[in-house]
Amino acid sequence: MGSDDRGADAVLPSVVCLAGDAIADKDGRPVLVGARCNDCGTLAFPRVAVCSKCMSESFTDEPMPERGRLYSWTTVHVGPARMNKPIVLGYVDLENGVRVFSHLASGGRPLMIDQPVKLAVATVGKEADGRPIETFVFTPAETNQ
């Protein structure tokens, strides 16, 4: 993950994380980190330097809810060689109203529009030098508790 990469100046990270510092580790669980505008309360994901509502540059990091609803999705059979195929992608509407574009991992279970999903991390590809590519994914959630 991104936080691990930053310390390794001269050494290539052993894992490539597509999401950079938009994903963090919280007590052993992944969390997406966005920002909340200190002036108007607008949420952003990923973090931004200026608010798209009020142009404020004052933000506080905001952890995103780990659950949401799958608005739509698709299985893609083309794309960059470094990505595992097929690539399953979708839009997830989080419980705070933010929409997140994400890889999906169904673990063999069928995906359905409007189904509850929850955050995880998974390997989605492999660099030419063999390092795995990781990013956040959403997976089917048993309930929407």
Binding site: L18, A19, L43, A44, F45, P46, S52, Y71, S72, W73, T74, T75, V76, H77, V78, G79, M83, I87, L89, G90, Y91, D93, G97, V98, R99, F101, S102, H103, I113, D114, V124, T135
Partner: protein, 380 residues
């Protein structure tokens, strides 16, 4: 507002794959054809606008230098798939402002230089950095629409069957062979529910248009086509909920264009809309008010948008058959509408067409339905 601008001349090269042809050599034949068709002297052209995405620095200057057209203001415009329709709109604005009387619009693109695959998007964009590709974006629209409105896969594939049938009648189309429903269904999967034949092909092309103020049009020709609406808008950014079954940028643009023209969907005789993928055409029937919400599939199935139907859509073959060299698309749609309104389209002529519409929208970036949308309405 646009009663004062007319189209004098149009030209294009057949869209296709020209991997060994330069941008300049793709474009100058289209420009020369448009100038000849317009009946203007090259020296009459006072300004030029060139729409392209991947052609590099000073595309318009490089192209026009080859034809000896230099020393005039030349503006290069990038607006994704709306690049040359935006260029056309800028020419309309310039003529209306009185800055010039005669202007040239060029659209050009060479996509074969990327060697295949999906359209390269801007890696700086967040969603693109996470793996977004254009087929995925449209496929998510398709899946949500099918879920919400019960559109069938067969209905979706019928867009390709119709447009390939139209393209077979267009010598400028990249794909000239008609396809069956079975062939569309069984072509290789790209992004579910899309198979290959539901996606526009990769290709190269160029198109050009000469426009002028109505004031001077009669010096050149008596049958100039009037531009009665010229609309450009951008998408509305949100990082929250968006209904992907409603292309909001096109809905808004259509409303603006109809208001400007003083016309409505019932007045349109022929339309060229942005069918980059099969679902798009169905969404745009609804966005333009050609049918009600959720009724696009049935409208298509009834043959209403095929040649011979109530409102033929994409008689050129559209992006799916004519091809989609992205910067050239908007200008090429205008070429088709102008030829339709002049009655020059032979086997694919929409009989008695008096009012035509063109629509180019695009740009896959985070937080937008699309980045840009340009709509034009023409009358004869």
């Amino acid at each position: 507002m646009t009663s004062g601008v007319t189209v004098l001349g149009v030209g294009m090269i057949p869209f296709g794959k020209y991997p060994s042809t330069s941008i300049v050599d793709l474009a100058w034949p289209a420009v020369k054809a448009a100038i000849k068709d317009a009946g203007v002297a090259p020296a009459d052209i006072e300004a030029a606008y060139c729409g392209t995405v991947f052609s590099g620095m000073m595309s318009g200057q490089r192209i026009l230098a080859r034809l000896g057209l230099s020393g005039i203001p030349i503006t290069n415009i990038e607006n994704a798939c709306s690049s040359s329709s935006t260029a056309f709109r800028q020419a309309v604005v310039a003529i209306e402002s009185g800055a010039c009387d005669v202007a040239l619009v060029i659209g050009v693109e060479k996509l074969t230089k990327f060697g295949g695959g999906t359209l390269p998007l801007e890696e700086e964009d967040w969603e693109v950095s996470q793996g977004m590709v254009m087929p995925a974006l449209y496929a998510m629209r398709a899946n949500r629409y099918m879920h919400d409105f019960g559109l069938t896969l067969e209905q979706l594939c019928m867009v390709s069957v119709k447009n390939r049938k139209h393209g077979a009648l267009n010598e400028d189309a990249q794909m000239r062979k008609p396809v069956t429903l079975e062939e569309v269904l069984k072509s290789r999967p790209i992004a579910d529910p899309f198979t290959l034949l539901q996606c526009c092909p990769t290709g190269d092309g160029a198109a050009a248009v000469v426009l002028c103020s109505s004031r001077v049009a009669k010096q050149y020709r008596s049958d100039a086509i009037k531009v009665v609406a010229s609309d450009l808008t951008s998408g509305r950014y949100t990082n929250g909920f968006r209904d992907m079954t409603i292309p909001e940028i096109t809905v808004r643009g259509a409303k603006e264009a109809y208001e400007e023209a003083g016309l409505g969907p019932e007045d349109i005789d022929v339309a060229e809309v942005h069918d980059a993928f099969s679902i798009a055409e169905i969404l745009y029937y609804e966005a333009f008010g050609f049918c009600g919400r959720g009724e696009g599939g049935k409208m298509l199935e009834r043959g209403e948008t095929a040649l011979g139907g109530r409102l033929p859509v994409n008689p050129s073959g559209g992006l799916l058959a004519k091809g989609h060299p992205i910067g050239a698309t908007g200008a090429a749609q205008i070429v088709e509408i102008v030829r339709q309104l002049r009655g020059q389209c032979g086997a694919r002529q929409v009989e008695g067409a008096k009012v035509g519409l063109s629509h180019a929208t695009g740009g896959g970036i985070s937080g937008f339905d699309h980045g840009a949308c340009s709509i034009h309405i023409f009358t004869r």
